[in-house]
C-alpha cells in the first residue's frame, strides 16, 4: 500500500487546453513569389499560426505546416511541399529564424523552378493569425492511472497544448507529459518513450492513442507488481 501511495505525486498534472479564434491579415498569395514576399513581411503571429499551430487543426497529415500543404495541394508543387515539410520549427530559436528557414527553402525552389504558376481564384493562400485562449480543462491526474483516464477524456486542444505548444514553453523543448512523468513520477524510462514520439508524424488523435498505449503498459506493470505485494 505504501508503495502505491508513493506513486501518487504531490505534483498533480493539471490538464489545460487551448482554443484559437482565427483572425485574417487581409494578405493572400496566388503563387510562390507572392508567398515568399508575404512570408517576409507578415507578422510573427501569422508565421506561428501557419507552422506551430498546424497540429491544432485536424489535417490529413501529409505535410507539417500550412505553407507546405498549400504548395502541395493548391500549387501542385510537390517537391517544394516536401522541402517545406522538412523544416522543424522547434529547432528554430525564434520566429525570425523560422521565417528565414522558410524563405531560404522558397528561394532555392524559385531558383530551380522555371515558371511560377498561379492557383485558381479562391484557392489562394490566405494569411491568418489567431487569438489563443488558454484555460484549465477541469481535469487533474495524481497518478498514472488517473492520467490514463484523463487522457482519453480531454479534447484534442488539450493534447495539442501539452504535447506541441509545450515545446515552446518547456526548457529543453520537451512536452508537458514527459516532463511530469520524469519529474513528478520519477519515471524517466516512460518519459523517454513519450519523448521518442516524432511529433510531426502524428495527428493529435494518434498522439493520444500512442501515449495511452505506453502509459497503459506502464500502469499494467505497476499493478502486477503492487498486486503481489498487496
Amino acid at each position: 500500500m505504501e508503495e502505491r501511495l508513493s506513486r501518487e505525486t504531490q505534483w498533480p498534472f493539471e490538464f489545460r487546453q487551448c482554443t484559437t479564434i482565427l483572425k485574417a491579415t487581409g494578405m493572400k498569395a496566388s503563387n510562390l513569389k507572392e508567398l515568399r514576399h508575404i512570408i517576409s513581411i507578415v507578422s510573427d503571429d501569422s508565421i506561428f499560426h501557419h507552422t506551430y499551430q498546424y497540429f491544432l487543426k485536424e489535417h490529413i497529415l501529409e505535410y507539417t505546416n500550412d505553407f507546405a500543404h498549400w504548395a502541395g495541394e493548391s500549387l501542385e508543387e510537390r517537391a517544394i511541399a516536401e522541402e517545406l515539410s522538412n523544416i522543424d520549427p522547434y529547432e528554430c530559436g525564434s520566429i525570425g529564424e523560422l521565417r528565414s528557414a522558410l524563405l531560404s527553402v522558397i528561394d532555392s525552389c524559385l531558383a530551380r523552378v522555371p515558371g511560377d504558376r498561379n492557383t485558381l481564384p479562391g484557392d489562394e493562400f490566405f494569411f491568418n493569425e489567431t487569438i489563443t485562449y488558454v484555460f484549465p480543462a477541469g481535469v487533474w491526474a495524481r497518478n498514472l492511472a488517473e492520467f490514463l483516464m484523463a487522457l482519453k477524456f480531454v479534447d484534442a486542444g488539450s493534447i495539442y497544448y501539452h504535447f506541441y505548444e509545450a515545446r515552446m514553453r518547456v526548457p529543453g523543448s520537451f512536452d508537458d507529459f514527459s516532463l511530469w512523468m520524469d519529474q513528478a513520477l520519477n519515471k524517466k524510462e516512460l518519459a523517454d518513450k513519450v519523448r521518442a514520439i516524432d511529433p510531426f508524424m502524428h495527428s493529435t488523435s494518434e498522439i493520444r492513442a500512442y501515449i495511452s498505449e505506453i502509459v497503459m503498459q506502464e500502469v499494467s506493470r505497476d499493478m502486477e507488481r503492487t498486486g503481489v505485494n498487496l
Binding site: A24, E58, F126, N128, Y133, F135, F153, A156
Partner: protein, 403 residues
C-alpha cells in the same frame, strides 16, 4: 440551459463558454438583422439568444423594418456582393440610409456589444452610442461587384471588427477581421433526434414515398442554389436509378425574388410526379428534420453560398452530402471523406449514383460527417467565438489570453 449540451458539444467549448460568460456577465449584447424568419441568420439567432441569456449575458435581438423598395435594394446589394451584376444608384443608397435612420429612432442601440448582421442594417453604425460594434457578414464576398463593395466598405470600416464565415471572404474592410463559421443547434426542432413515428407522419402528410431512395435539397428558391441544375442532375440519375427528388424551401420575407424562382422551378419540373417541390411554411423545422432523415442523399448544389448551413444539418443527420464547391461548403465537406464536392451537373449526377449504389460508403461518410460537425459547427462553438471576439476586443486584442 447550457447543461443540455453536455455530452453533445466538445467539453472544451463548454468550459471556455462558461469562463467567458463569467467575465461578461450582466453586460448587454445586441444583435440586429432584417428578418425574424426564413434563412440561416434568423434561425441561429432564435437559438443563440436564449443560450446567451442563460449564461447571464443580457442578450437582445432586434429586427429592422423596411418597405419593398428597401428590400429590393438590399437584395440587389446581396447579389452584387456575391458577384452578380446589379445597378444600384445614389437614390437607392440614400433610401438605404434613410430607412436605417428611421429604424435607429425606433431601436434601443445602447449595448456593451452590438452585432449587425449582413448589409441591410449596416448604416445603423452611424447612430452608434457605446460599446463594441461588430459587423457579421454571412455572405460570400470573395468576388464582389467593386462599386457596391466600396459603398459597403465605407460603413464596415467604422466597426471595431468584422466577422466572416470563411477566410477568403475577408476583404480588408475592417482593421480586425475574424473568421467565425456559422453553426447549427443540435437540440433545435430541426436537428433533434426524431422517432420513427414522427418521420413517418411527415412522409405521409407531405406524400414522400419511403420505399424508394429520396434525393433532397433544402434551400430557399434562389438561383444561386441552382434548383434547375438539381433537376437536371436528377434526370441524369433517373435513367439508371429509380429515385424521388424533393426540393424543399421556405419563403423569406427579405427575398422578393423567391416567388419568381419557385415558378421557374415548377415549370422546369414539368409535372414529373417524382419531383416534389415543397414550399413549406416558416418554422417547418420538424418536417425539414424528417425529410433530411428520410433522404438517402442530400444535395446543396449551390453556385454561390455564404456558408451552407443546410449542408451542416444534413451532415449532422449522418447523411452523405453532395455540395457545390462554393462559399463555405468546402470548409465542411472534405471530398471523399465527409461527402462529395461537385463542380457541374454531370458531377452531381455521378456522385448521386455512386452513393445510391454503395450504401456502405454512404453510411461511413455520413458518420464521419456527423463527427466533423460535432467538433466544429455546433452552436456552442459559435457562441464561444462571439464571446471570445468581444472579450478580445475589450482586452486590447492580445494574441494570448489566459483564463
Amino acid at each position: 440551459m447550457i447543461e443540455r449540451y453536455s455530452g453533445i458539444s466538445p467539453k472544451g467549448d463548454l468550459i471556455l463558454l462558461r469562463k467567458l460568460a463569467d467575465r461578461l456577465a450582466d453586460k448587454t449584447f445586441l444583435h440586429i438583422n432584417s428578418t425574424r424568419e426564413g434563412g440561416g441568420v434568423a434561425e441561429i439567432l432564435q437559438r443563440m439568444i436564449p443560450i446567451m441569456s442563460s449564461l447571464g449575458i443580457k442578450a437582445r435581438w432586434d429586427v429592422i423594418t423596411g418597405d419593398d423598395r428597401f428590400f429590393d435594394m438590399t437584395k440587389k446589394v446581396h447579389n452584387a456582393l456575391q458577384g452578380y451584376p446589379e445597378t444600384i444608384d445614389e437614390d437607392m443608397w440614400d433610401h438605404h440610409r434613410a430607412v436605417n435612420e428611421t429604424n435607429a429612432t425606433l431601436l434601443d442601440l445602447e449595448a456593451d456589444a452590438t452585432i449587425i448582421h449582413d448589409p441591410q442594417p449596416l448604416p445603423l453604425i452611424n447612430f452608434r452610442k457605446n460599446g463594441v460594434w461588430i459587423w457579421r457578414c454571412h455572405i460570400d464576398v470573395s468576388n464582389p461587384q467593386k462599386d457596391v463593395f466600396g459603398e459597403i466598405g465605407k460603413y464596415v470600416s467604422k466597426f471595431d471588427a468584422a466577422l466572416y464565415s470563411v477566410s477568403r471572404f475577408a476583404g480588408g474592410m475592417s482593421r480586425n477581421e475574424f473568421i467565425v463559421s456559422p453553426s447549427i443547434d443540435p437540440l433545435a426542432e430541426k436537428n433533434r433526434e426524431l422517432g420513427r413515428n414522427e418521420i413517418e407522419e411527415t412522409a405521409r402528410r407531405l406524400d414522400i414515398p419511403l420505399d424508394r431512395p429520396v434525393v433532397l435539397q433544402v434551400s430557399r428558391f434562389d438561383r444561386f442554389k441552382d434548383p434547375t441544375g438539381v433537376i437536371m442532375a436528377y434526370r441524369k440519375v433517373k435513367k439508371y436509378n429509380d429515385c424521388v427528388l424533393v426540393l424543399a424551401g421556405s419563403p423569406a420575407t427579405d427575398d422578393p425574388e423567391g416567388a419568381a424562382v419557385l415558378n421557374e422551378v415548377r415549370q422546369f419540373a414539368s409535372n414529373d410526379p417524382d419531383v416534389r417541390i415543397l414550399l413549406l411554411p416558416p418554422f417547418s423545422d420538424k418536417d425539414i428534420n424528417a425529410l433530411q432523415r428520410i433522404a438517402a442523399v442530400i444535395l446543396q448544389k449551390s453556385l454561390k453560398e455564404g456558408f451552407g448551413l443546410t449542408v451542416t444539418e444534413g451532415m449532422w443527420k449522418g447523411k452523405p452530402v453532395i455540395g457545390g464547391a462554393a462559399g463555405g461548403i468546402p470548409l465542411q465537406i472534405t471530398h471523399g471523406v465527409t461527402g462529395f464536392l461537385v463542380h457541374s451537373i454531370e458531377g452531381t449526377a455521378f456522385r448521386i449514383r455512386q452513393l445510391l449504389n454503395n450504401s456502405d460508403m454512404a453510411g461511413r461518410m455520413g458518420q464521419q460527417a456527423r463527427e466533423y460537425v460535432r467538433r466544429h459547427f455546433l452552436i456552442t462553438r459559435q457562441v464561444r467565438d462571439y464571446l471570445a471576439v468581444w472579450y478580445a476586443l475589450s482586452e486590447g486584442m492580445k494574441s494570448l489570453i489566459e483564463l
